[in-house]
Each structure stands twice: as C-alpha cells, then as structure tokens.
C-alpha cells in the first residue's frame, strides 16, 4: 500500500512537471506572438508551422551554449541560484488541485499531488523563498547591475508578500479552511441559486489585491524592476549564460503558470465548471471536463498576464514602494475587517 502511494505520487509529480515544462515552451511562443500583435509586428513565424517551433529552437540553442562564470563570482552560489529559482517555481504546484478525483484502473485518484492541511500557507511559504534565487544570483555575480536587481527584488517581494498573505485571509475567512481542495469545493455552490460562488465575487477587493501582488511576486511588468533592461542591463541574470540562464527563464514562466493556477484555485472556482453537474455526464468524463476547465481558466489568466505586460509601463521604484505599503496593505487590512463584519452579521 505504501509503495503504491509513493508510486502514484511520483507519477503525478512527473505528469505535472512535464506538463509545466511543455507549457512554458508554448507560453513563450504565445507571449511573443501577442507582443508582436500588440506592437503591430509579425513575431516569430519561420521555424515550424506558424513559428511554433521557435522556442524549441531557442531551448536547443541555450542548451548548447557555453556556461560562463565571471572570475570574481562566488561559484557555488552562482550555480545554486537558478536551481533555487526553478525548484521553488515547480514545487508550489504540489498543493494545487488540478481536478476533482478521477477513476483510473479501478482506483479513485485525487488530482492533487499533496493534499496537505496547510495548503495556502505552503504556497505562501514556498513563494516567499523564490526571492533567494534572484537575490543570490544578483549577489554572487559580483556585478553592480546584478546586485541592484537582486536588492530590488528582495525589497519588492518583502513589500508585496504582506499584501498577498493578507488578501488570502479574506478567502480563508469565507471558506473556513486552509486546504486548497476544500476551498475549491466551497466554490462549487451557487449564490442566490445562479451565481457561481467563486471567491472572485465573494472577495472582489481581495481578488484585485491578490492579482496585483501576484504580478509583483512573479516580477512581471509593471513590476519587473529586478530585471529592468533600460536601467540594469539584464538585472540579476546579467552574468548568466547558457543552461543557467535558461533555468531562470524557465523559472519566470513557471512562476507565471503557478501564479495563474493559484489565482484560479483561490478566486476563480478552481476546476469547477458551473452547471456542468446538471448535465449528467459519467463520472470519468466529468473528471476530464474538470481538468479541462482548470486548464482553460489558467490559460485565460495567463493571457491576462501577457496582455498586461505589453500594455502597461513599468513603475518607478518609489511608486512601487508607495503602492505596496501605503495603498495595498491598508486596503487588504480593511478587506479583512469588512469580511469579518459581514460574516459576523450573516451568522
């Protein structure tokens, strides 16, 4: 029995990691096409049909390039930093439910790698570690641009982590659990009999602040100060080449996927497709529909990420700090207070 559980878990991990890695390849392609569309360009269209293989070619290029470590860099940390980044980006997915249970070979399998009691806290804890990859990369490169990028990153993450955590508190209060699959279960009901009880509707303020904080935590525009090209060359990864640069690149997009998945799970009803349970599908088909729904929702959120990136300018550093501490933090605290009051009145 014990070995079976281990095997199933390993299988789940393998599937999820491979899916994410494949997704990243296409995500980069989509991002480039969308950016081209926004900027009225053509974008990659030569390698493979519609340029679909462009990213694959890029990956091959990165793999074959020489790994250069600056002479005065701190070698061990320089090597460690990208590993931390990608490890953190991938391990967040462990607690995200990508579907309800599915029946395979006569077994009920939960579509979540680790159904831990403290799911949300796990996500917060792991994402809070992502900053080490960037900071250490910046420090160990022994380059002033890298260091500045690393410093900015740690300051930014500390500032927005608080708002991120506090935005979730509202969701916790509404659903009364820290377990992510229970939070999704809670969102499968309907408000007034017709509106899906997604936390997006129950926690509109929390939703907006969480998405904003998620942008900051993933270092996406308009919060990409750690790698602001015009100011810092490449920011923390200026001194990285080849595979290690590739890992940072991968981590950035993996982070985006994870963030989208977390937003989907916490605020957009997770894998649940409203009203589908009334259609009367067989349980196996229903499970597949749920997984499909989850993927579509995540894809939609990612699309949102991409469009935002190519339409908004970057914040200035002081604007970033002001937004984080003087606007986001009070708003999230007020949200917690309001949620508490409403819950008190309802019960």
């Amino acid at each position: 029995m014990a070995t079976e559980i281990v095997l199933i878990s390993l299988l789940k991990i393998l599937v999820v990691v491979l899916t994410i890695l494949t997704c990243v390849v296409f995500l980069v392609y989509i991002e480039r096409r969308v950016s081209a569309f926004v900027q009225n360009r053509v974008g990659p269209n030569r390698t493979g049909p519609y340029g679909l293989l462009q990213t694959v070619a890029d990956v091959v290029k990165l793999l074959m390039k020489e790994d250069i470590v600056p002479r005065n860099a701190y070698k061990a940390i320089h090597d460690l930093a990208p590993i931390i980044s990608i490890g953190v980006a991938l391990s967040t997915f462990a607690v995200i439910p990508i579907g309800d249970t599915i029946e395979l070979f006569g077994r009920q399998i939960k579509l979540i790698i680790a159904d831990v009691n403290v799911g949300i806290l796990y996500i917060l804890a792991i994402t809070s570690l992502g900053v080490y990859g960037i900071t250490l990369a910046g420090w160990s490169s022994n380059n002033k641009y890298s260091l500045l990028g690393g410093l900015r990153s740690s300051a930014q993450l500390i500032s927005y982590e608080l708002s991120m955590g506090l935005s979730i508190v509202g969701v916790l209060m509404v659903s009364g659990t820290l377990q992510l699959d229970k939070i999704v279960q809670h969102q499968t009901t309907y408000l007034f009999g017709w509106l899906p009880a997604w936390n997006m509707f129950l926690q509109p303020i929390g939703f907006i602040t969480f998405v904003t904080a998620a942008f900051a935590e993933t270092n996406r525009l308009p919060f990409d100060l750690p790698e602001a090209e015009p100011e810092l060359v490449g920011g923390y990864h200026t001194e990285y080449t080849g595979l290690k640069f590739g890992l940072f690149f991968l981590a950035e997009y993996a982070n985006m996927i994870t963030a989208s998945a977390v937003i989907t799970t916490l605020f957009l009803g997770g894998w649940h497709l409203p009203y589908v349970e009334y259609v009367g599908l067989s349980s196996f088909i229903l499970s597949l529909v749920y997984v499909g729904t989850f993927c579509v929702k995540v894809a939609a959120v990612m699309m949102f990420f991409i469009i935002i990136r190519w339409t908004l300018p970057r914040f200035r550093y002081d604007q970033l700090m002001n937004l984080g501490w003087k606007l986001m933090l009070p708003i999230t605290i007020i949200n917690v207070l309001l949620t508490g009051i409403v819950l008190l009145i309802l019960h």
């Binding site: 403290v118 806290l121 796990y122 917060l124 250490l136 910046g138 740690s154």
Partner: protein, 170 residues
Amino acid sequence: MNVETIFFYLLGAVFVGSALMMVTRRNPVIAALYLILNFFCLAGIYLTLHAQFIAVIQILVYAGAIMVLFVFVIMLLNLSDERRLSEAISFKKIVAGGLSVALLLELLYIFVYRKTDLPTLNAERSIEIGTVESIGRHLFTKFLFPFEVTSILLLAAIVGAVVLAKRRLD
C-alpha cells in the same frame, strides 16, 4: 527504527552541522545561507513532530521574511569577509569556553541518562495539537491575552524603529 526516527537524526545532523557552519563562516552572506538551511531543518523536525502549522510558519516567517531582510541588509551594507580578530586567547575566553562545555555536558547527561525525568506526551495527542485548527482555537481562547499583548509588543517595536531610523524628525 522507523522512518520518523531516521528523519529526525538526519535532520538533526544537518541542523547541528549548518549551525556550526553558520558560526564559523567568514562571509556574512554564506553564514546567513547556512542559517536558512538551519531553519529548514528545524521546520523538518517540527514536521516529524506533527506540528505542520509551526513548520510552515517557521519557513514562511523566518526563512521567507526575516532572513530575506537579513540578506538584503547584508548586501546593502556590502559587508566583505570578516577579518580575523586579533584578540589573543584571554582568561575570559577560557572561562566562557569552559562554562559552555560544562553546559553542553550537563544537557547531554540529562537527555541521555535522565530521560525519565521528563514528562511524556503521547503521539496521538501531538497530532491533534499540531493542526491549524487546534492552534487557532488555543490562540483565540486560552492564549488570547498573550496574543493581544504580542500586538502591543510589535506596535512598540515599530514605533521605536521608526523613531530611531527616520531620517528627519520634524
């Protein structure tokens, strides 16, 4: 020997090892990294004791927030390797070292030979205690007062930090 015991000794070994490395490293950033590793092992030990909540909080607060700030400040100050202190071995140091060794031996003696003195707690109860629900319930009933006092403590600390660090006081 069950899995938990093996994990405990494994984590314990890394825990002590990383603590020693942290104290002996010259480079402050490397020392801080060993401290982070140390916190991870501590979180792991909490997990073997079924204290999920404390384990996650240990990582979230210490490794994820406080140490980030530490590393940030160390980098900002651009501290280089600490030079070796030229202080010779003095009487004070010998006494301090002797006392520390005595304390260590004493504790070892207690935990190896006088284990029976210690109160025992059965494992089933510890699973109950470690959950978020149980901690939350205790925090807002029996320990409500310390919880509130902690907020006063933090408030005082924030006010103090601002008073000392603010550039202009007008």
